[in-house]
């Protein structure tokens, strides 16, 4: 197998390398790729969409349809991970560990043993792989997380003017939650941001994107043609495109954030949503 793989790889690579001679040089500004279509975006992007960041205008407007499916891919991945991994577990199926807070004693409860109440003030659930009490990490994260989130919101909102946008912002938001889950424990993260909310936010985010498109449709324009929203938003068509981009970026941010968190829940706990990492 390895030998075959090597042969296949060398052959394919050889073929590809053999051919590089016909390609334009690295950084060639006069290659067809750089002269045929892309100048249009650079020259007219700002006038068409009122967004100086051309990547954003191409992403969310010229090729906004691609991006809608990009968001859908993320959502599909979340759905797929949930579908493949999630399994409901009854309390008592697996051994659990609890700490009796007043005494600091750690209890190991076997399968089928009597468990303390979920909201017990005396017993606290522990991960089965014992994690010591890391007060520095917890508190650092507690301080850092709000700043991450603020920055994420900035990235989402400022995608028109600087590198950024819904995907980047959404991932940052998700990262903040994941940081919380790592520094504390998975159960607490899930209590803050339940699975159901993640799932619904995921579909809602894509729905915002696609729904904006449908709204354009209802106003009589083509799908995702934000110009049609001008009367609704009370601005000029060009500004309407700009606002439209912002709206869909927010949708993307919602979807990406929720889905990445959702995927994290499922992957980290192998679908049990019990304890993980």
């Amino acid at each position: 197998m390895k030998f075959l793989a090597m042969i296949a790889v060398v052959l394919t690579g050889g073929l590809l390398i053999f051919h590089t001679g016909a390609f334009p040089d690295f950084g060639d500004a006069n290659s067809p790729a750089n002269t045929y279509l892309s100048p249009y975006y650079l020259e007219n992007g700002q006038a068409d969409t009122h967004a100086p960041n051309v990547v954003t205008s191409v992403l969310a407007d010229y090729r906004g349809y691609d991006t809608m499916f990009e968001t859908t891919v993320v959502f599909a991945a979340g759905l797929a991970c949930f579908f493949l991994l999630r399994r409901k577990q009854k309390p008592g199926d697996t051994p659990r560990m609890y700490r009796h807070l007043p005494t600091g004693v750690t209890l190991h409860i076997k399968e089928g043993g009597t468990l303390p109440a979920e909201d017990s003030a005396v017993f606290r659930r522990l991960d089965s792989e014992f994690v010591p009490h890391q007060i520095i990490i917890k508190n650092t994260c507690r301080i850092v997380i709000p700043f991450i989130q603020i920055f994420a919101l900035y990235v989402v909102a400022h995608g028109h003017y600087s590198p950024g946008g819904g995907f980047q912002g959404g991932v940052l938001l998700a990262a903040s939650f994941i940081l919380y889950a790592i520094s504390h424990d998975l159960r607490r993260a899930i209590r803050r941001f339940p699975e159901k909310v993640a799932a619904l936010f995921g579909s809602m985010g894509v729905l915002i994107y696609a729904g904006t498109g449908v709204l354009c449709l209802l106003f009589g324009a083509n799908f995702l043609n934000y110009e049609a929203l001008a009367p609704l938003l009370g601005v000029s068509p060009v500004m309407a495109r700009s606002h439209g981009i912002l709206i869909v970026e927010i949708g993307v941010a919602f979807a990406v954030m929720a889905v990445i968190i959702w995927i994290y829940y499922n992957l980290s706990s192998a679908g049990k949503h019990d304890e993980g990492l």
């Binding site: 197998m1 390895k2 793989a5 296949a8 790889v9 060398v10 394919t12 690579g13 590809l16 390398i17 590089t20 390609f23 334009p24 040089d25 690295f26 950084g27 060639d28 500004a29 790729a33 750089n34 002269t35 279509l37 892309s38 100048p39 975006y41 650079l42 020259e43 992007g45 700002q46 006038a47 009122h50 100086p52 960041n53 051309v54 990547v55 191409v58 992403l59 090729r63 691609d66 991006t67 499916f69 990009e70 891919v73 993320v74 599909a76 991945a77 979340g78 797929a80 991970c81 493949l84 991994l85 003017y161 600087s162 590198p163 995907f167 060009v238 995927i263 992957l267 192998a270 679908g271």
Partner: protein, 135 residues
């Protein structure tokens, strides 16, 4: 040899992407461990992203964020050659997301396989399957 050097020097971006791609491909076909295969898959996909982004580059070009008057006055002065090509970047944003999504699903499947067979080595899994079939 005289021809080859400038060929490599001028087009090294392609060489890099091809080498990366073949590394990834080799890992996907030749490796035994499923997680290694998944890593190979990611390298493979990333190499294509690198390829796309590299063809967008223009010597002397800068970020495709139009400088100047933010209120629509700047478009007359825009020279396309000053900015790198935004289109491949935009496409690759999509490709990155796709590769992340694929990675997620692949890992989910790997977890499921681990749960089922207790290992991620393909040989061991195939051995177990054969044992079951033999019974």
């Amino acid at each position: 040899m005289n021809d080859l050097l400038p060929l490599i020097a001028d087009k090294y971006n392609y060489w890099i992407y091809i080498v990366l791609m073949m590394l990834g491909l080799y890992a996907m076909i030749g490796k035994n461990n499923l997680v290694k295969k998944i890593i190979g898959m990611n390298i493979f996909q990333t190499s294509i992203i690198l390829f796309y982004v590299s063809i967008a580059y223009k010597k002397g070009g800068t970020l495709p964020i139009i400088m100047g008057d933010a209120h629509g006055g700047g478009h007359a002065a825009v020279h396309a050659a000053d900015y790198i090509n935004p289109l491949p970047h935009c496409l690759m944003l999509t490709a990155i997301v796709v590769s992340v999504a694929t990675l997620g699903v692949a890992l989910a499947l790997a977890i499921k396989i681990y749960r089922q067979y207790g290992t991620l080595e393909e040989d061991d899994i195939n051995h177990q399957i054969r044992m079951q079939a033999g019974q």
